[in-house]
Symmetry: C3
Subunit: 206 residues, 3 copies
């Protein structure tokens, strides 16, 4: 189940990358590259942090084709994106949860301690979006808008707690999906967000 959701997820992430590249008037190559990095960058950073070589996507070339294909396809359907917005946000939320669980599992398998496992889950969940925004020269959206990174954090916690409680992996994953999706979509609907910290420059300002 996780694998098929993963495939849906990297497609959705690739599309969000393509749209961000389009906002910066990139060429076809830029669109393809940003789509690829948005979809697979989170897992790549996780693998590099944990020393988990070979990096996952290098062993699954189909992911390369899929994300680049999804990115380029987005150009054709961009005009409908506004109307597809709701579906898109649901797919993106599914991706966030799937990425987080997968990231936790990778770190668990390598024997890392709990806090590192949580960091690995979050990294997989949100770093694709962060790399997308860095490459498109804007402040990472996932750290500013409605609950997003926090959903990844809470899903990681919930997954590990249920695991310690002996819940089977399938049921655990299912519960995490229900929880994560509900929370993320509720956050979008009611514009829930964490408190924001606003600070005006003193000494270190630019």
């Amino acid at each position: 189940m996780l694998t098929s959701i993963f495939v849906i997820a990297i497609t959705a992430e690739a599309m969000s990358g393509a749209l961000a590249a389009g906002r910066r008037n990139m060429d076809l190559f830029g669109v393809a590259l940003i789509a690829f990095i948005t979809a697979l960058g989170g897992g790549t950073v996780r693998d590099m942090l944990l020393g988990n070589y070979p990096v996952t996507w290098t062993q699954h070339p189909s992911y390369i084709y899929l994300t680049i294909g999804a990115g380029l396809l987005t150009i054709l359907i961009a005009r409908f994106m506004q109307r597809l917005n709701r579906i898109f946000l649901i797919l993106d939320a599914m991706g966030l949860v799937a990425f987080t669980i997968i990231g936790c599992n990778v770190a668990l398998k390598l024997g890392y301690e709990t806090p590192v496992v949580i960091m690995a889950g979050i990294t997989t969940g949100i770093f694709g979006g962060i790399l997308r925004d860095i490459m498109c020269n804007r402040t990472p959206q996932v750290l500013r808008h409605e609950l997003y990174a926090s959903v990844s954090f809470l899903v990681a916690i919930l997954y590990l707690v249920l695991r310690v409680l002996g819940v089977s992996d399938e049921i655990n994953t299912l519960i995490c999906f229900c929880f994560g999706l509900t929370l993320r979509l509720a956050a979008i609907h009611w514009k829930l967000s964490l408190p924001v910290f606003s600070y005006s420059p003193g000494r270190w300002g630019d």
Copy 2:
């Protein structure tokens, strides 16, 4: 041959990094660092992605001196850069081709599959420039202007096709250079570029 072109190439890349740093009014240290990262960053990212340790430049300290030296020298000759522009663009194009072929060879030696080999070639070819632009807080130029990343992509494809056809490495490299240089310089001359994807913000805008 590839090695001597590589040396020319990292010099040219270091100079382009120094100029970008100068546009952001960086100090001498910043110029040296951006020059170094622009010249050797592509290969570094490739090595880290492929798990190719130790990273190449750590085994060739002379590359450190060369790129930093070229970066600092650029400050002295910056006023002539406008006039040297044509030579500079040719050196840069040579670097793009050399980096791409070297990147492919590293991935081939490590036994990666074809799509990963192509990604390794492109990463080596363009990621120095992408890191330069990220560090200088601008949208990566290589994804927006005349054919650049695409030249790297096509050179990687051509190199692998000729390799499968049994063409000797020397001749293969030579053909790739003729092709890549011609394509890149033609792109500059006739302002050839890929179609651009322009998308105006909806839900995910900043």
Copy 3:
């Protein structure tokens, strides 16, 4: 001694990260993440460059709690930061020196050559701040203002020279601290900086 200074240092770096995040109106999660990356990102980049796995902080979860805690605490005391400015700058300078020496030691233990050891020291010293600025979408401050990266460079050189001269590690560290702190604080007080390279766009401008 180096360890306790390291703990103080990552706290100070985490706080500088939190303030930068506040300037971009990030939410609590963003503040915590930027604090973590600013404090531990330099060492992480160093470990990934040198292939020094597992990455240091993954073996010391307490560093994760400490930096995130310091980041969030900064929100509460931000209003006093202006007044605490002097202490903060001293802690930051101590961190710069401690990070540099620790980075050199890691590379020395792995048997890298001298120029790579120096690069490892500088990377540990300044890359946290560079990642902070990249994530907050601004040009890296450490490459533009009063001597900062150069202090890291000179401390690394001094440390290696004294080491070759047979000075004991403790005394070496002490001398480097006196030198580095004095230089950095003098640079702040008298606004000492490296010459700046300003270049106006020609062909490669954006």
